[in-house]
């Protein structure tokens, strides 16, 4: 069992990801924006972070950069959710240290399998 943080401003998406991951036995923290996500990460040190790029306030890219800049949480794997139209987001995401990305609209099945891959890699 691992602690996963999901940050997305769309509650439906948060709920969907939470439902899917909890169904697999993971513990999920949901955050509705970048600030909340960053606070929760610093407080709870999740095993994996899923960040939507397009969030109001701090974007997923900003949060990812701050994670990598904070030694306490710098090792946390990060998976970005990106809209297909913003190809450059993917590049920027990798540039700030994201580990993987999934484009919207995404298949929950696919997302979960990526999450599991990242978690097992982190455990190894």
């Amino acid at each position: 069992m691992a602690l996963v943080l999901v940050a997305d401003d769309d509650a439906d998406i948060r709920d969907l990801v939470t439902f899917k991951l909890e169904g697999l036995g993971e513990e999920v923290i949901a955050a509705e924006d970048g600030e909340a996500a960053l606070a929760a990460i610093r407080e709870r040190h999740p095993a994996l972070v899923i960040l939507d790029i397009a969030m109001p306030g701090l974007s997923g890219i900003d949060v990812c950069r701050m994670i990598r800049a904070d030694p306490a949480i710098a090792q946390t794997p990060v998976l970005l959710l990106t809209a297909r139209v913003q190809e450059q987001d993917v590049e920027r995401g990798f540039a700030v240290g994201a580990d993987d990305y999934v484009t919207k609209p995404f298949s929950p099945r696919e997302l979960v399998s990526r999450v599991q891959t990242l978690l097992s890699r982190a455990r190894a």
Binding site: D10, L16, F19, K20, R84, V85, K104, P105, S107, R109
Partner: protein, 672 residues
């Protein structure tokens, strides 16, 4: 008249004076000839006529003396023989007349003959003495013969003295006649020489006067002729012609100068006219007109007033020459009753007051048809050259040019505004398209995500009916997603936000995958598909975009082919290109619709008629993608027979420019 007069001198008088001098000279010559004739006549008279008259008188007197002596001899002899007293009377009357005759002779005798007269007188006196003695003895005593002989001998001597005198006088007459001849000859020669001189002088004076009149006149004529032939810089040389011709030459030159000025002005006019008309902005045209007129007419001020129209208030453009006196405030700001003004010809009027330096102005109202658009005023201050007639004309023409330029500028500005507005609308539409499709994706993400969870039975088991219904939802969500992707792609193409990733891709694999993916749909539609794809075709390109394009073509072929038809897919390498041919036996495309096939949202009439689903985006995406890869799309179609789409893609990388696909229009083609 001397030789120096022949050389042209500056200001050598007038034609009148020249002719006066020539005629004066001729009159002088005639007078001289008269005087010479007179002198010759007087000289002849002094040298010949007087002596001749004296000599002739002497000859006559000599003849009288000889005659009296002869009468005396005859009377005496006859008396002595006959004793008739009548003869004695004859003798006596001769004897009495003799002294007077001799006295007469002596009085007219001239130098050389005086001695001879004295001789004659002596001999005659002796004869008279002898004769008197012999007659005295009569009638009784008749003189003896010896006495008569002696008297006879004395008579012979007297007669020979008479003859000598006569001869001397005759010789003198001969001499005088000769002198007369010589004098006549001299007079003739003098007159002849004078006449020849007069003729020569007359000829010279005539030629000289002619030359000094005709040479400059010919120059004037020649210059006028050259000017007429278009040698605009021809001028009459100004050197010493008579004043009247100088005046004509000056007039010809002044005329040519004026024509030059006019021509230069018209040349400049055409330049300015073109400059005004080429401006597409109202402000530039106004400035060009004001400056152009000022330069052209060497004016002090140019004021252009414009009437207000529905878009703009009244305006004024002012140009002033550097350092020109006066100000143009009154001309630029005085109220104008535009409704009453009508476009017309330029008029000249005095400018009263000191507002722009009192002077003269040319003013013209210009406009469109009967409507005054503006008024143009050109000011020259007092004391300057007055306006030439053609300058008025130039002002009128430039005003007309300005009116045209203003109309043109107005139309251009309107057109510009329309274009800008339509570009704005287009950009807004593209942005709208992008936003809408992007926003559609957010709910679609939830819908497809939750749908998948349901279908995967993560939320509990499903009964078969629910499963079938969810299948329908899933199918339609898939269509919706493709549609949104197409919309997004099209909006990005239109916004220029379209980039292709260059990587080497396996075209064969991509085509096979697309072929496999379309199979279920083809089977469902009852369409038979065949495939003939060559092995290992690779090319540089964007995997996602090309895949989208190929799947679009495949799905179009299946969609537009009724049940029972066939779709064949073939791909091979042809020289530097990969050629993909998709041929169907479908409904085809009406000939009228072929040219519009690649326009976005365009749908062929027969597709709409048959209510076949579609957005009309497929082919515009195919076309844009293929063009971006340097390729071409050709559509060959016949309605109700089928359509063949041929895509040619270069096998080696081509330089892509970042332009929008509109700029590459024409890269696709279509045929029937």
């Amino acid at each position: 008249m001397n030789l120096r007069a022949r050389r042209p001198r500056k200001g050598s008088g007038t034609i009148g004076r020249l002719l006066g001098r020539a005629f004066g000279g001729l009159v002088g010559l005639v007078l001289l000839m008269g005087v010479v004739g007179l002198v010759a006549a007087v000289a002849a008279s002094v040298a010949v006529s007087q002596p001749m008259r004296e000599t002739l008188r002497a000859q006559a007197a000599t003849a009288e003396v000889r005659s009296l002596i002869g009468n005396g001899q005859m009377g005496l002899n006859s008396y002595l023989l006959s004793g008739d007293e009548t003869y004695r009377d004859s003798y006596e009357s001769a004897r009495r007349a003799y002294p007077a005759a001799m006295a007469q002779l002596r009085s007219v005798a001239v130098d050389q003959t005086r001695a001879l007269v004295a001789d004659l007188n002596a001999e005659a006196a002796q004869w008279w003495a002898l004769a008197d003695r012999q007659i005295a003895g009569m009638p009784g005593a008749r003189p003896p013969a010896p006495a008569r002989w002696a008297r006879q001998a004395q008579l012979v001597r007297a007669q020979s003295a008479t003859r000598a005198l006569d001869q001397a006088l005759s010789a003198r007459i001969g001499r005088l006649n000769h002198r007369n001849d010589v004098l006549n000859t001299i007079a003739l020669i003098v007159v002849a020489v004078t006449t020849v001189g007069a003729v020569l002088f007359g000829l010279w004076i005539g030629r000289s006067a002619t030359r000094r009149i005709t040479t400059p006149l010919a120059q004037v004529l020649e210059t006028a002729d050259r000017l007429r032939r278009g040698e605009h810089d021809a001028r009459v040389p100004r050197a010493g012609a008579p004043a009247e011709i100088e005046a004509v030459a000056a007039a010809v030159n002044a005329n040519a100068d004026e024509a030059d000025t006019e021509r230069r002005m018209f040349d400049n006019f055409h330049e300015h006219s073109a400059a005004i008309r080429q401006h597409l902005s109202r402000g530039d045209a106004l400035a060009a007109a004001a400056r152009g007129l000022g330069d052209l007419l060497d004016a002090d001020h140019v004021v252009i007033r414009l009437a207000p129209d529905q878009d703009r208030p009244a305006a004024a453009e002012v140009w002033s020459a550097e350092g020109a006196p006066g100000d143009t405030t009154a001309l630029a700001e005085a109220p104008v009753d535009w409704a009453r003004l009508r476009p017309g010809k330029a008029v000249i009027r005095d400018l009263e007051g000191a507002s722009a330096g009192a002077g003269s102005v040319v003013e013209v109202t210009f406009g469109e048809g009967q409507e005054a658009v503006g008024r143009l005023t050109v000011v020259k201050r007092q004391g300057r050259d007055p306006w030439r007639p053609y300058e008025e004309h130039l002002v009128s023409m430039l005003a007309a040019d300005l009116a045209r330029a203003l109309t043109q500028a107005k139309l251009f500005e309107q057109a510009h505004e329309l274009v800008a507005r339509s570009q704005e609308v287009d950009a807004a539409k593209t942005e709208f398209l992008y936003t809408v499709s992007h926003e559609l994706r957010t709910p679609l993400t939830s819908v497809s995500g939750y749908l998948e969870v349901l279908v995967d039975q993560d939320a509990g088991p499903l009964n078969p009916t629910q499963e079938r219904m969810l299948g329908v939802i899933e199918h339609n969500v898939g269509r919706l997603r493709l549609l949104i992707e197409d919309l997004l792609l099209v909006s990005r193409i239109e916004a220029g936000r379209f980039a292709v990733d260059e990587e080497t891709l396996d075209l064969t694999a991509m085509l096979n995958a697309a072929y496999a993916a379309i199979q279920p749909a083809a089977q469902q539609a009852g369409v038979t598909m065949t495939c003939e794809i060559d092995e290992s075709i690779t090319m540089p390109g964007d995997q996602d975009h090309l895949n989208r394009a190929i799947r679009n073509v495949f799905s179009n072929a299946v969609k537009f082919t009724p049940s029972g038809g066939t779709v064949s897919v073939a791909a091979h390498v042809d020289g530097p290109c990969a050629v993909i041919v998709v041929r169907d036996t479908g409904i085809g495309i009406p000939a009228d619709d072929l040219p519009k096939l690649f326009s976005r949202f365009f749908r062929a009439a027969n597709a709409t008629r048959r209510a076949l689903p579609g957005t009309g985006l497929g082919l515009s995406i195919v076309s844009a993608v293929v063009q971006r890869h340097g390729g071409t799309v050709a559509v060959d179609s016949e309605e109700d027979a089928g359509t063949t789409v041929t895509i040619r893609l270069p096998l080696t990388a081509v330089a892509h420019n970042a332009g929008t696909p509109e700029r590459q229009a024409g890269a696709h083609e279509y045929s029937q």
